[in-house]
């Protein structure tokens, strides 16, 4: 309490984060916290009503994000953040719903929900922190681990092909798709802000250092090294064809905003279609009648 007296102004994060839970659990040098600050910046700049904004996470290091962000926040089960968010959004359409979770959570166990929510153009923003491994459980290989990279369950190096998440997202129907590295601070925030200002299924992949596991096992140095490394390997190609943006172990990282289009959301479609078929009998759902 006394320390607070010294502060002439309060940390602007205080409105956005649960300061009573800081320090967070993330390792020194982990990039997840940085993605969260970008998110906080996006929230602030977008000027959306934070009381009407909800965040849903699955399980994982990244999955802990929901616990630190001072919104209505849900820490669900591994892989199920998206269907949880679907229910949340449909039950209360006035909410802005953000799913913030890890690559394993969203594209590993949760892959089916990911593609189906994208297909439905469910109105939500999915922020996926891709640290190329299952960090929370100790650095196992993931569907995003670049081929040849080391992981605890790929002790001789990964020999599986990895997903290109932007490609998968677009093929499934996402209307906004972007990829950045965590160090693209402002661009990450800007993408998030754009997505917050849009309706439909938005997907933002943020390549982020996992210093304790991925970096250590692959001898990629500390968090700072890896932050820098990803950044330096990146090349901005806005509007790049998502078929061309796959990631190889030490290769170039194509980043940028790849897709940004308009398409009616699930609820738009439902209301429009039922309105057309049922006529006046049907009252648009989620549009305030009261």
């Amino acid at each position: 309490m006394k320390e607070e007296d010294h502060l002439e102004e309060k940390n602007p994060m205080e409105d956005l984060l649960r300061m009573d839970r800081i320090p967070h659990i993330w390792c020194p040098g982990c990039g997840i916290g940085t993605v969260v600050t970008s998110f906080a910046e996006a929230l602030r700049k977008s000027k959306i009503d934070l009381d009407k904004t909800a965040i849903v996470s699955g399980i994982g290091c990244t999955g802990r994000v929901a616990g630190y962000v001072k919104l209505d926040s849900f820490h669900t089960t591994h892989g199920r953040a998206i269907p949880f968010a679907t229910g949340l959004k449909l039950a209360n359409p006035e909410l802005k719903v953000i799913v913030f979770s890890g690559d394993g959570d969203i594209a590993g166990i949760g892959g089916n929900h990911f593609i189906h929510a994208a297909r439905r153009n469910m109105d939500m923003i999915v922020i996926c922190v891709n640290n190329f491994n299952y960090a929370m459980t100790g650095g196992q290989v993931a569907a995003t681990t670049p081929t040849t990279a080391n992981a605890s369950t790929a002790p001789y190096g990964n020999y599986e092909y990895s997903f290109s998440l932007p490609y998968l997202a677009e093929a499934s129907g996402a209307t906004y798709v972007a990829r950045w590295t965590a160090l693209h601070l402002r661009r990450v925030a800007k993408s998030m802000q754009e997505a917050l200002g849009k309706r439909g299924f938005s997907f933002i992949e943020v390549i982020t250092p996992c210093v304790t596991l991925y970096a250590r096992r692959n001898r990629l140095g500390d968090g700072l090294n890896l932050m820098k490394y990803y950044y330096e390997k990146s090349e901005i190609q806005h509007g790049a064809d998502t078929r061309t943006v796959d990631i190889s172990y030490q290769g170039k990282l194509i980043v940028g905003k790849f897709v940004d289009k308009e398409k009616p959301t699930f609820l738009d479609c439902m209301n429009e279609h039922l309105g057309k078929v049922l006529g006046d009998k049907y009252k648009s759902y989620g549009v305030s009648h009261e």
Binding site: E3, E4, H6, P28, I32, G33, T34, T37, L185
Partner: protein, 91 residues
């Protein structure tokens, strides 16, 4: 314990909560004006937090605030200048 730089009247102020710091050096490395530097001192967690080397150079771009994964630095501005896209050079 909260640490902050010297309080000369400036466009803004850098606040460092040094006990929150985990010594990742992100802020020091990416400050465009080399305002920050890691200190020798340990914080309660046993990490070296940064200190403000020369606030005079500070642009109050808030990059340190955005990059800090521990929410340990923030910058307050005298005028409401948060809207701009400062520090974009880095992003």
């Amino acid at each position: 314990m909260v640490y902050f730089g010297d309080l000369k009247e400036k466009k803004g102020k850098i606040h460092i909560d040094k006990d929150r710091c985990k010594g990742c050096k992100f802020c020091v490395e990416y400050c465009p004006k080399d305002v920050l530097e890691m200190s020798e001192e340990f914080n309660v967690k046993g990490y070296h937090p940064p200190f403000i080397k020369n606030e005079d150079d500070c642009l109050y771009c808030q990059l340190c605030e955005t990059i800090c994964p521990e929410f340990a630095i923030f910058v307050t501005l005298k005028k409401e200048e948060e809207e701009g896209e400062k520090g974009e050079s880095r992003s």
